[in-house]
Symmetry: C2
Subunit: 394 residues, 2 copies
């Protein structure tokens, strides 16, 4: 039978990354592709204790339906976390979601009609593009450099495109690793306020800084209710628990709750209570410090290996945190065509193209360093450099 699918399905591209992730199940492949945290660093024993306590003390409640907004004590935990980043926030301001992806999806569904324009960094997080695409929006790219998006370019763009929303990942951006400079955050907010432009600020990596000083989020400047701030425990505790949160202006938060009722009623009661017990009974900051140390070493290792082995025509970013760096190949190289050869050598990356709303950007590669041991990074980068050298010579 010939099924007519919804029109929005024609706009959503399947995620290359999630297809690639299936290949990475093979044990002899070294993957710099996924945005996976290091599983050997997960606080497994602490989560186990937390799960045991929750099911001993509040088993029936942990297995029962809960409120759409989230488990109130965990909302307070995330409010405190949000306040520690310089944002004024109460428990009631926090909405718990089934991971950051749902925060993106619900925000998109609440705000975006077909044809609406979204401003994004170019490149940007590809699964955010997916969430926006399902609302059949247009994208307009904000020019960026090593200091993040360039605010001076915004007024012209805003006047021409009348965007509904600007989406930004200010800290250690996915895929480039670049951080939005402090003075640019101020300038961005001032322009947004002048034009009444909403900002969706995605901050999954903010706590994973290895060097330099923390910069307050754009939301910390938000006196006018223009910024929707979102974060997650996926990088600081564990992604498998699918728990993120949103802090949005009240009117938007109200609509997000209605939309979440229709999307999944609420997020897992058990996972929320386990996370609450974990944050209550253990020192997550100490855990984050351990991750930062390890990821900082892995980044340094990858950077050094790239310096040692990559042909001189290749360059890459030098992030101060996060999980990714971004390689620029010579113009003659198409990184999507590099993929099968890399796979032959049993090393994986994500071709840059998928991160560009307009499908440009064929000369880039995203490399994840958090998910591989220093030794695997050495071996994997040697393999990748070999593929790159062979390609650059052709």
């Amino acid at each position: 039978m010939n099924i007519r699918f919804a029109r929005r399905m024609a706009s959503v591209r399947p995620s290359t990354i999630r297809e690639i992730l299936k290949v990475t199940q093979q044990p002899d492949i070294i993957s710099f592709a996924g945005g996976l945290p290091a599983p050997e660093l997960f606080p497994v024993s602490e989560i186990k204790v937390a799960a045991e306590r929750v099911l001993t003390d509040n088993g029936p409640q942990a297995l029962q339906y809960g409120q759409t907004e989230g488990y109130l004590p965990l909302r307070e935990t995330f409010a405190a976390e949000t306040r520690s980043r310089g944002i004024s926030c109460a428990a009631e301001d926090v909405l718990i979601t089934t991971g950051s992806q749902q925060s993106l999806d619900l925000t998109a569904r609440v705000l975006l009609d077909p044809g609406d324009c979204i401003l994004t960094e170019n490149p940007t997080y590809l699964a955010a593009l997916q969430a926006f695409q399902s609302c059949e929006v247009r994208f307009a790219a904000v020019p960026t450099d090593e200091g993040g998006l360039i605010p001076e370019a915004l007024p012209e763009l805003i006047e021409r495109e009348h965007p509904k929303l600007l989406y930004t990942i200010p800290n250690f951006q996915n895929p480039t690793g670049v951080t939005l400079r402090r003075e640019r955050r101020q300038a961005l907010y001032e322009i947004a306020a002048r034009y009444g432009l909403l900002i969706l600020e995605d901050d999954p990596y903010g706590k994973l800084r290895y060097t330099g000083e923390d910069i307050p989020p754009v939301k910390a400047l938000d006196t006018q209710g223009l910024v929707i701030y979102m974060s997650t425990v996926s990088k600081t505790v564990a992604p498998g628990l699918r728990t993120g949160w949103v802090v949005a202006p009240e009117e938007i938060a109200h609509k997000i709750v209605i939309c979440k009722q229709a999307a999944d009623l609420h997020s897992s009661s058990l996972d929320q209570r386990i996370l609450h017990a974990y944050f209550r009974d253990f020192d997550n900051q100490a855990h984050v410090n351990r991750i930062r140390q390890a990821y900082g070493e892995r980044y340094a290792q990858m950077d050094q290996c790239l310096r040692d082995a990559m042909p001189p025509e290749f360059s890459w970013t030098h992030p101060e945190g996060g999980m990714f760096l971004w390689v620029t190949c010579p113009e003659s190289v198409n990184s999507s065509e590099l993929m099968p050869r890399a796979l032959q050598e049993k090393v994986l990356f994500v071709p840059g193209r998928d991160f560009f709303p307009d499908g440009s950007g064929t000369r880039y590669m995203r490399l994840n360093f958090s998910n591989s041991s220093p030794e695997k990074i050495r071996t994997g980068i040697a393999r990748l450099a070999g593929v790159c050298a062979a390609t650059a010579l052709v």
Copy 2:
């Protein structure tokens, strides 16, 4: 600032039930409102053992990102469960979702464009209406009686409305408790096949039969790939784990996966593995038998109390399973106006209106019997009957 929300938000009604659920936190209120299972019957100690085993044996994997389609061993568990209901099904045919609500939402988003028509029972599950409303669809009601929807009414409806999808809950329907008769399932499928109409078959309660014989799902008849079958562990294990599944024709399943990538990447790895260990190591059928026994007694208790105390102008359904019965008030009674008086007497129900796509149905009440002890049922129905008697007299 004046925010322009997406057009779809004008179509979605907030859930009265979820608002009512907030009130039910007060301990002296007896609530027949929510569709909550009995928490004292949850297999808490078994889930605790399962959680401990998962985190001991596979902690890092249970906390890591997973595949969008779901954890393969759990897909096999649900495939076996689906086969036990008479449906041919392999693990690869099962997609795991963040609860049935997400199955509804993803199916809607994959198939429905604004203006598309959905056929539903009238009344039907209100959170399904929410999921459909967010796609800005039209509804057309299929006439129903005590044997479920009436297939003979379909051809005219189909020819007039050109529906995209028929949504049905054939077993112990929410809100009426009514079951679609065996011969009607056959007739429904034949008509669907004749017209190429897709059927979304929602089966959360099928395992909760107290009396009579199981009837195979419509999906068991599906030789042409027209039926999307969905079920959940919310009523048979625990709803707090937010785990449901969908078995859909291949082409639709593929689109659901793409849509789920954009919606929440995947459902909780930890919850999926805990459920898998639970089904592997414990006898869930024995557990379901205990629930059926208890709910059957609660239903009988509620039915008896209604007979004893309700004014003669009130009637109600006699479901053979599930969690709800459906009260028809005299025409003069508006059940929404009854609500505040019932609340004063500290008893809660859901007014019927919300279950009707067209907002009609003001004379009905949905009563849940699974979530209250027999003693509470006695007290609560006495209170409710008092309110009804006072109202019917006016």
